[in-house]
Symmetry: C2
Subunit: 211 residues, 2 copies
DNA sequence: CTTTGTGAAGTAATTCACAGCC
DNA sequence: GGCTGTGAATTACTTCACAAAG
C-alpha cells in the first residue's frame, strides 16, 4: 500500500519487466492499459500485476485501468532511470566480449564504463569504445571511472579473489556469471546467472514431462 | 519420497546446481558430505537440501551424511548425462557468438550441433567447428542434425516467428534470450533469460537497501 | 457497465525441530 | 555421539472474488 511496506522479492524481480512492457505500449501510442491487457502480453496473472502495483500506492483508476504515461513515469523513477548506472566489466572472454559490444545504454540506462582482462596491457587499450585495463589496476580504475557495480565474467578460479577486491572497494553489487557462489559482505548484493545450470534445468524439464 | 512424487519447481531448478557442487567435491577427493557442508558451499539452507534430496528417495545415511560417488551417480543419471543433448543455436550475434565459442560439452553433456544466422550464406559456413546456415534452411538442418531444443539469441523482431517455426517442428524447448515473451504450444518448455532485466533488478536492489 | 485494490483463501517453498537410525 | 528424513509450523507468493469507484 504505502512505500514504506516491504516489497516482496518476487515483485522486485518483475519490476524491470513491467517497465519494458510499459515502454512498448507507450511506443505503440497506447494511452491506457488494464491489468488484463498487460497480463496477456506478459503472461502474468492480472491479479498478480494489480497486487504488485498496489505495493507502490494507487497507480490506477477503478473502471479505467492505468494511464500509460503515468506508469512510465513511475517506473522510470522507481528504477532510477534518471541517471545512468556505471558498471565495470571484469573478464573480457567470450561472454564479456558480448557485453562490451552490446550497449546496454540504449534501452536501459546502464553503461559499462571500464573493463578489465588479464590479457590487456597495463596501460590499457580500447575495445568497442570502452577502455580495458589489466586487473592489476582494478582498484585504481574502478574508482577513477566511478563504477558502482561489476559484471563478473572471469574464470571460476579468479572469481572469489575478484569479489574480495570488489568488496574491499565497497562495490555495491556483482552480476556473477561464474559458477562459483561468492562469499561477500552483507552489504553487497550478488545476482547469480549460471547459463549452464539454466540450460540443464531446461533439459531436465523437457525430459521429465512426458505430456 | 518416491520417484512418482511431483518434484517442486524450486527443487528442479536447483538440481543442476547440486550436480555441479557434487562434481567439485568429488574432484577434490571427498568421499562423504553432509547437508551442512553442502549448505556452506552452496549457500542454501541444509534443511532445504535434505528436503530436495528426499524427493528422490533415500540418498543419505542417518548419522553419516551422503556418499559423494553415490550422489554423483544419482545426479548424472537424473540429469541425463549419459547422452549428450543436441542444441541448435539461432542467431549468431554478440551473445550467440559467445555460445558458439564456449563449449558446453566439456562440463555439461550438451552440444551445439548447428547454428543459424541471417548473415550466413545458404550453403553454410563453419564457425568454431560448428556449421552455420541461413535461417531459410532451419527446418531442413534442425532435423538433419537432430537438435532437440534451441537457444534463441536473435533480435526481438524475429523471435516469435522463429518460435513458431520451432513449434511446427515439435522442438521440445527454447532458451529464450530475447526480451519477447514467446507464445508457444503447451508441450514446449521455454526458459527466459533476460540479461537487461536481471541487471536492472540488481540495480534496484542496490538502490533500495540503505542498510 | 468496467476495472481497480485488497481481504481472504489457496498454493508453494522454506525452515524448525526432533524421532529414528547409524 | 552425528546426521538424515520428515511431520508440523512458518513464511512467501499467487489467485479468487468482490466491494468500491468511475
Amino acid at each position: 500500500m504505502s512505500k514504506e511496506n516491504k516489497i516482496p522479492q518476487a515483485t522486485t524481480k518483475r519490476l524491470p519487466l513491467y517497465y519494458r512492457f510499459i515502454q512498448n505500449f507507450a511506443n505503440d501510442g497506447k494511452t491506457r492499459i488494464s491489468s488484463k491487457e498487460l497480463s496477456e502480453a506478459m503472461k502474468i496473472d492480472p491479479a498478480t500485476i494489480r497486487r504488485d502495483f498496489s505495493y507502490f500506492g494507487t497507480l490506477g483508476k477503478k473502471g479505467y485501468g492505468y494511464d500509460v504515461q503515468n506508469l512510465l513515469a513511475f517506473f522510470s523513477d522507481t528504477l532510477n532511470q534518471a541517471e545512468a548506472t556505471k558498471v565495470a566489466l571484469i573478464g573480457v572472454g567470450n561472454l564479456g566480449n558480448a557485453f562490451l559490444k552490446y550497449n546496454f545504454r540504449k534501452n536501459h540506462n546502464t553503461q559499462i564504463v571500464v573493463a578489465f582482462d588479464s590479457k590487456a596491457p597495463l596501460e590499457g587499450n580500447i575495445v568497442s569504445d570502452i577502455p580495458v585495463y589489466h586487473p592489476d589496476r582494478l582498484e585504481e580504475m574502478y574508482e577513477k571511472y566511478g563504477a558502482e557495480l561489476a559484471i563478473l565474467t572471469v574464470s571460476s578460479r579468479s572469481a572469489q579473489a575478484m569479489a574480495d577486491r570488489l568488496a574491499k572497494m565497497n562495490a555495491k553489487g556483482i552480476m556473477n556469471f561464474t559458477p562459483i557462489r561468492l562469499t561477500v559482505p552483507e552489504s553487497m548484493k550478488v545476482m547469480n546467472i549460471d547459463l549452464s545450470v539454466e540450460l540443464q534445468a531446461l533439459i531436465y524439464l523437457i525430459r521429465n514431462s512426458e505430456h
